[in-house]
Structure formats: structure tokens, C-alpha cells
Symmetry: C2
Subunit: 406 residues, 2 copies
């Protein structure tokens, strides 16, 4: 189980420290997304260099490729991918529900056709917990239905959102039970497993912890855009009891104001002594605002995916490196940035690499964007420690809106 | 001009030290290929880490993208790409002649349609020297025709090879004149250019050298598979006088024995006090054999291109990482390898990354393959220094033929 230290508060914003099986990190924190067991283009060492302390793995993708039998051979995802720090895994639910045309939801779980080879598969709370147990992530997520904002042109009704949320609650119960059973079984096998490490030197340091502590499970608040449903979800989840609580079902196509309304409503109602995680969010502005609401953890593909498309984040707004204006621009992306890309490379070179589709360009852009996101949460932490969060937040939003200097 | 120190000999094999404008390196040496100003997936720091000391840039590609106007803004390729060590550029000839259907050769040069946008372009010895002067490579190559081994099913005749070689000789004269004129002009502009560096901190250390020394130009021996034509080319080139001499027109589809025959014939006849460069070669076996003939420099896309296709080089032969047998193999590529990929990652993880097409897999494979090639020439140097080259060569060829242990 994980320990969450409260370090400081500033208004609703919180500074914390999360002790996981594979390490300790400060919150608020952003988690880069490593879908298939790799943050695209980034080695574990490169991730450390940009300030990453916890990464996210996608249960659904890893289940299909390479498959749990392979990861079990390594004793978990950490040793398979060579990342020794904390890992959070999602439940696979979000990905399954994204396969709208190919899946059928029942009380039991979700039946769907594998997008890799068409195999008929069934994902249930129990199967999700089994997979996450094999992945051996520091933080697992309950299997839930991510209630859609709309289907086609039609908005999800309150009744549909309620049914979806209550199904997720029943699945949260089953997830809790299955997770606890898997952890108990793993604890009793721990001694025999301690010899199952990889033959590389990857992470021998974490072995002692592995036998002495168990992983954590987070609940996920659903309920669509309806405060009363969110309250019902939140109350029921806290009755079950989780190591942390996430707000799910946002950043799914709803207007920005709707998302902010739900975050502002839910965040202060989540248990204060447990970490709070806003799933799949978002822009720098979204993150800064949500920290102000008391959120501790974030994940999003935006910095990594945008990097590969030449979209770079800076203090003064965003920069599209493929724009012809950067063709012979000798300046770094951001003269005030301390990432290794800005220390060594010009906009013109990054423009060139992006235009020719060279993967080094994607790597260097990813380094910059992840460094930007991780520096943003680092700066937020310093602002909360210094009891100047509100001033900092306003300055960040103002700088971001100002646009890049010529 | 470049200085070549002879350090040791062992039979025909040579140990040397090449002093270029941007640094000194030991020979025999392998040069990774950075076609568009980047060795695919490798930052300059990563190249240093695997042991690269000189890289090759492709004049033809860089001429088309980003264009010489952009690179001129940076005062040369080094500052544009952030690589502070020596760079060798080819002449663009090989790439132009590869456009078989789209180009026309005249005494003046080669007319062709740009594969990027269809523009009608003309590449001449003078234009190649102008471009290479803008790139400001430590070592430039003369513009020559790479005589084909065959056209369709028909082998190139001795008469055709002779005409091609003599055209290359006339172009070598023109290259020498144009190169010297460009260097002289650059020398007189050096003071005013010394303020044209990038605004990053990339390579301020190299500025002093830039004004005090000039670049080098290598001649290229042609003549197809005919010793008498090779002798004529070699004699005429040495009469013109170059800083080093390359053997071109090999590794163009000829049988391995033909290549070895021509290398064995030409290498000992090249001036002993100048570096000898075998262009576009080759496999580890080719390189080891050619070092035994007295070759000092090599370049080839094989380690980098093969890496991206999952083909990995080891002491005991080659390993195709996509093979299903590696799906859950916890061993590194080669337990005896000291590269960072083998230190941290398993075959199973690399297999997974290669199967999903993740660029981190291409990067990690490139790190391994370049480390293998650069360790190979490092070991060759040690063997020559220790006067045990022949024994080492035999052991390498035997180990490579033995196959990987199960």
C-alpha cells in the first residue's frame, strides 16, 4: 500500500509526497504515457533526465502485445522495460470502450474483437486486475466504464450516465476484491519470485521492497457532467475504500467549461488524505487550473504526441516547428528553457528534422515537451511551498497567452 | 589541410592518427552515415557515447534539404547539427548516379530532376565543391562518376569503365581547382565569419581552429573491376595530389571476390603517407579483411539501416530480433557487449519494440550496431598496436561464422 504525505497547502492547492513500492516522488506530478511499455522515443535514462519520476503503462495494449506471459517471465513491467521508478497502469477500460463498433458491454465485462488479430476477447474487472497484477504496477486502476460525453451527435443523458456510473461502481467492488486476492496470492509467492529477475542489471535495487510491500489500487469517480451522480460515485467509492481517487470521464470531448465545472466540484470532495488524480488531462492551462482545485496527479499523451507532430510547448505559448518561418531560425525553441534540446539545437535544425520525418526530431521534441510539462509541475510545487500559488498560476496563464516573442 | 600520423604497422595493416580541423581520431576508423545531417535516431551525444569520432554527411541530400542557404546561416554543417567532431562529406555523385532514369551525364556534369519537387538541377564538380564548402566538412570528396558494375543484366565493359574513369579524372582536376579556390576565398573571409555561430552553446570551442586551418580534399580511385584502369586512375590522382585517397565504385553489386580483388590490388598502391578510405563498405568481415589490406577509413549505412530493420550484429554472427524465438528471451543481445542497450535491455523487450514499430527500438538497436562497428575498429587498432592483427582477424572471422550460442 502506498503512503501519501501532505507537505503543504496553499488555498486548495496541495503539495504532497507519494511513497510507492518503486520509489518516492513529489506531487503535484505529471505522468508521461508509455502505451506499449515505452514512452515513444524515450529510454528510461532519457525520461529520468527530463524529470519523469512515474510513468503510465496501458494495460489494454500490453495485454495484447507482448502479452502477459512475456511480462510474467520478467516478474513485471518494471524489469521488462528497464524502468525502476513507480508505474501506474490504467485498467484497459478506456481503450476497450474506444472500440465503439467492435465491443459489447454486459454486466460481466466487455466482449470485443482484438484490433491486432480479430480474436474474440473478454475484459472484466477480474481480468483487468489479473493483468495489472502481472504488470505489477505500483498503482493499479479499477476497471470502469468511461461514460462518453456524446455518442454521434447525441449527448449522453443523465439516466444513461447514472446507469454507466452504477455499473462502474459494481465493477469497482469486483476490482477491489480481485485486486486484494491477487495481492495476497502474490505476497505468499514473493519469496519464490525474488529469484525471477532479468539477467540484465536493470533494477536489482528494488527487490527488497518487492517482498515487503504491496501495490496500490485507485478508484475512479464517474457520473458524466452531473454533480449529483459524481457525488454518488464518490461517496460509494470512499465506502469501498481505495489508496487514491481519480476523476475519470473527462477530456472526452466536452467543452472546457464543463470539465472545469466537474473538476472544481469533485476535487475538494475527494478524501483529503489520499492522492487525487485527474485522468487524461491535459493542456498546461488545464493542469495549472486543476492544481488550483487540489489535484495531485496528471497524465496525458499531449506532450509526447504533439511533439511527434512538431507542436512544441513554451512559457509563451505553443510553437509549430514545421512552420516555414523557422526554416533558418538559429534560436533554440525557448531561450529560457533548460532542457537538453534547447541547450544544443536550433529551431532551424528541429524544423529540418521534422520536415524530413527523422526520428531524432521526434525524440528531441519529446525531450523538450516532457521537460516543459515536468518543469511546470515542479514550478507549481515550488509556488505552493512558497505560498504564492495563485500569483504563479495567474502569471503562467498570462505568459502562455502572450504569444512567442519575434 | 589534414595531418596523417603513422603510428604502427602490422603486415599491410596500418595504425594511424588523423588530425582534422574539428579534432583528432585514431585509424582504422568507421564513420556512421548521417544522410540528412543526422545519423538516424542518434543525437551527437549518443554518437559520442557509442564511440563515433567522425561522421559522414550526404552532400546531395543536404543540398536539397534544408538547402545550402540555411546551412550557410549557421556557418556550416557542424553548427547546424550540433556535432563538434570531424565530418566527411561525399560529393553527391553517388546519389545522382543512383537516379538512373532521371539523369543525363555530360562533360559538364549531371542534369537531373529533383526527387523532392521535380526541379531541373545540374550538379557539376564546381557546384559539388561549392556545396561542400558551405557544409564546411573537414574532409570533402571529389565529384566523380561511380562506375556501375552492371546496367540491367549487362556488365559494364572495360571500355565503358575506362571512359567513366577518365571522365572522373577530368572532374577530379576541376574538383581540386574549385575546392582550392573556395578554400582560399573562405580563408580571406574567415575573420568576418567568426561571428556567425549559432545562438546555442553548441561548439564555440571549434571557432579558433576554423580560421587557422583549411579543409581536406580526397581523390577517388575508379576503374571498375579492371586493375589496369585502377592503376591509371590512381597514378593520375596522385599526380594531381590529394590529402587522402578513396577506393570508389565498390559494394555496387559485384561479387564479394571481385571487391576483395580490387581492394587487395589498390590498397597497397595508394600513397602510404596519406589516409586510405574504402567507400560504402561494408560487413564486419569486409572491414576486417580490408584493414588487413591497409585501409584506414570506412563508411556504410549497414549498421544503422539494419538496426532499424531489427538486424543486430554480434561477435558470433547476426541476430534478427523480430524472430519469434526472442519473444521472451531475457538475455541481452550479446552478454559480452558493453553498449548501453546490452547493459539495460533484453532481447524480449527489443523484440517487442521492433514488432510494434516503436522508434525507441530503432534507437536502441542503432546504439548496439554502431557500438559493435566502432568496437570492431577499436579492437583492430589494438591488435595492430600489439602486432597480432593476423591472429585477431582470423579469430574474428571464425567467431562471426560460429553462430550465436543457444
Amino acid at each position: 500500500m502506498l503512503t501519501f504525505e501532505r507537505v503543504a497547502d496553499d488555498g486548495a492547492a496541495r503539495r504532497g509526497r507519494l511513497h510507492c513500492r518503486h520509489g518516492v516522488f513529489e506531487t503535484p506530478m505529471f505522468m508521461p504515457v508509455g502505451t506499449y511499455g515505452a514512452v515513444k522515443g524515450m529510454s528510461p535514462a532519457a525520461l529520468r533526465d527530463v524529470g519523469a519520476r512515474i510513468i503510465l503503462g496501458n494495460t489494454f495494449h500490453l495485454w495484447l502485445r507482448p502479452g502477459t506471459d512475456v511480462i510474467a517471465r520478467f516478474g513485471g513491467l518494471h524489469r521488462f522495460i528497464g524502468w525502476n521508478g513507480p508505474i501506474l497502469t490504467d485498467s484497459g477500460g478506456y481503450q476497450v470502450f474506444s472500440l465503439t463498433a467492435m465491443r459489447r458491454i454486459t454486466e460481466d465485462g466487455v466482449r470485443f474483437a482484438s484490433p491486432i488479430n480479430g480474436d474474440r476477447l473478454l475484459l472484466t474487472p477480474e481480468e483487468s486486475m489479473r493483468i495489472q497484477s502481472v504488470l505489477d504496477s505500483d498503482i493499479a486502476m479499477v476497471f470502469d466504464e468511461c461514460t462518453p460525453y456524446q455518442t454521434g451527435d447525441r449527448l449522453t443523458t443523465e439516466r444513461e450516465a447514472a446507469e454507466s456510473m452504477r455499473l462502474s461502481l459494481r465493477w469497482a467492488h469486483r476490482s477491489r476484491s480481485a485486486f486484494d486476492a491477487a495481492q495476497a496470492a502474490k505476497g505468499s509467492r514473493a519469496d519464490s519470485e525474488s529469484s525471477a529477475g532479468p539477467e540484465t542489471e536493470a533494477d536489482s535495487g528494488s527487490r527488497a521492497d518487492a517482498t515487503s510491500r504491496t501495490n496500490a489500487l485507485f478508484g475512479i469517480v464517474q457520473g458524466g457532467m452531473h454533480e449529483s451522480l459524481r457525488d454518488e460515485s464518490l461517496t460509494s467509492l470512499t465506502e469501498i475504500g481505495f489508496d487514491g481517487y481519480a476523476i475519470g470521464g473527462l477530456s472526452v470531448g466536452e467543452p472546457k467549461a464543463e470539465m472545469q465545472r466537474i473538476v472544481a466540484h469533485c476535487a475538494p470532495r475527494l478524501p483529503a488524505d489520499r492522492p487525487r488524480y485527474l485522468m487524461g488531462v491535459g493542456t498546461p492551462e488545464d493542469i495549472v487550473t486543476a492544481i488550483g482545485n487540489g489535484i495531485d496527479l496528471f497524465d496525458c499523451v499531449m506532450p509526447t504526441r504533439h511533439a511527434r507532430n512538431g507542436w512544441l510547448f513554451t512559457r509563451h505559448g505553443d510553437l509549430k516547428i514545421r512552420n516555414a518561418r523557422y526554416r533558418d531560425d538559429r534560436r533554440p525553441i525557448d531561450a529560457g528553457c533548460h532542457c537538453s534540446t534547447c541547450a544544443h539545437f536550433s529551431r532551424a535544425y528541429l524544423h529540418h528534422l521534422s520536415r524530413i520525418g527523422e526520428m531524432l526530431g521526434a525524440h528531441l521534441a519529446t525531450v523538450h515537451n516532457l521537460h516543459y510539462y515536468l518543469s511546470l509541475v515542479e514550478d507549481a510545487r515550488a509556488a505552493i511551498d512558497g505560498r504564492r500559488f495563485e500569483h504563479w498560476r495567474a502569471a503562467i496563464l498570462s505568459d502562455r497567452a502572450s504569444g512567442l516573442p519575434d
